[in-house]
Amino acid sequence: MALLETHHDAAKRIRVDLQLIADMVEPGTRVLDIGCGDGALLDYLVHFKQVDGRGMELSQAGVNACVTHGLSVIQGDADTDLGNYPDDAFDYVILSQTLQATRDPREVIEQMVRVGRAAIVSFPNFGHWAARWHLFWKGRMPETKGMPLKWYNTPNIHFCTIRDFVELCREMGLTIERAISINDRGQAGRVSGLWLANILGEQGMFLLRRR
């Protein structure tokens, strides 16, 4: 059990954006974390929010690490494997920093709000001032702390801005229950003024429900 305890100590100090997601989740609920990576968020939710947590992860190494730590995780792809789940199978479906790597982001969000009563989505904001600065002054695709890879080797194929995302939610008829922008110092603010949030937010984070 020593291994698990060490793991839990680590889980108490999860990344700030993951902590913000965790704060949105009601205790004791059913949660699916898509693209759960090494399981840091899922482990936190299972042990500190007592959720019935499941994970889906593309990389087999990530899956095996999660299962080895006692988490319920399967190898799967957000683009193809969400269709297997029944309606309302979960209270929350989480997609953290993965939307921009999906082939069909709109369909993935459709599936998330079908499978879950609520969806939590976070993504890097292409409208962040650093990205705009990079594109405007250098004329090159942005390479920032949040988006460190080159245009030709990044797995991120569908970048959007916070404004783009809000517009998509409107088109899809989704209710935005909460919207948070996170600046480059990891500080969260409400997306009240969209114009400013779309410049200062390095990440956008949304809690969505279908109407």
Partner: protein
Amino acid sequence: MATLGNHTAAQGLPMPGKRLDFAADQPLSLDSGLSFGPFSLAYQTYGTLNAERSNAVLICHALTGDHFVAEQHPITGKPGWWTTLVGPGRPIDTERFFVICSNVLGGCLGTTGPGDTNPATGRPYGLGFPVITIGDMVRAQARLIDHLGIDQLFAVVGGSMGAMQVLQWAAAYPERVFAAVPIAGAARHSAQNIAFHEVGRQAIMADPDWRNGDYAAQGVNPSRGLSVARMAAHITYLSEAALHRKFGRNLQDRTAVTYGFDADFQVESYLRHQGSIFVDRFDANSYLYITRAMDYFDLAIQHGGQLANAFRGTRTRFCLVSFTSDWLFPTAESRAVVKALNAAAANVSFVEIESDKGHDAFLLDEPEFFAVMRGFLDGCAEHRGLK
């Protein structure tokens, strides 16, 4: 050879392990519609059942396995078939769990099978033994678990045909299975796998010593047929890469080919050896019946053609494991089960282990597999409140 295999048990010679007898008035209802009895279950246990009776792990063995999981085999003298996984301090830790394994119905190491005496005739059953299914094997095991006074098994674990039993357990007795670990298995036997089994059965039945299944009464044994069946099956347990690594085109104790049909190649010699040692420990009719049970297995068909229906409302925690080079029970088969479990919103983990050792990998030293098994069981024990 007639004194070996199940005949040892049939003749009442001492065999290690435990045995549970069911009288003629406690028969087993078979999927075929028949009622079968009397019958005996041979089983073995390791570790101690806790006061709450909540730490029992049932191991389900594969086609030619037996209940000697974690101890020296009484006939071959070799270590138990899963000592890598089961034992003190192992991933299935016998200092923590009460481990149970029984020889399957139709087997030849103590549980009633076609080699045993039919009380109605006083002769070995032979082909008079009823055709049994994976469901029948599991129903028999449930009788044993009842006898041991265990309401809910902490885990049911098995590979290959053992994985079929695990899935059957989870579908038939969901409330009795806290965690299920089907390894290198499938929810149905594929056409290719049925085809390989048919080759094995035909090899046995083509042996003149098979005598329409009546060989034991006639004092002979279809060793050649059974040996060929084993050779063919053994190839399916390995991978092309494993065979190449182990043998390549290396010659056996010679420097050149002999222009004959002797075992020139090491791989031939190896297979012949595997075949010849197999007949010392296994009964030909048991092989026919058990392969048939695997062929008939199709969990979806038992549930209206929808595999997800087998798992509706289940609270069992599943962990499926497959191996990359296993072409007998490939990853796609495990993935199909995962898909069905997701459709039932079940709690499921699924790992594919990188290995070039083929289907046999589940019996071999695969550290990543062991780590996953240990982690999954630890996680489940935490949820179950087990120390």
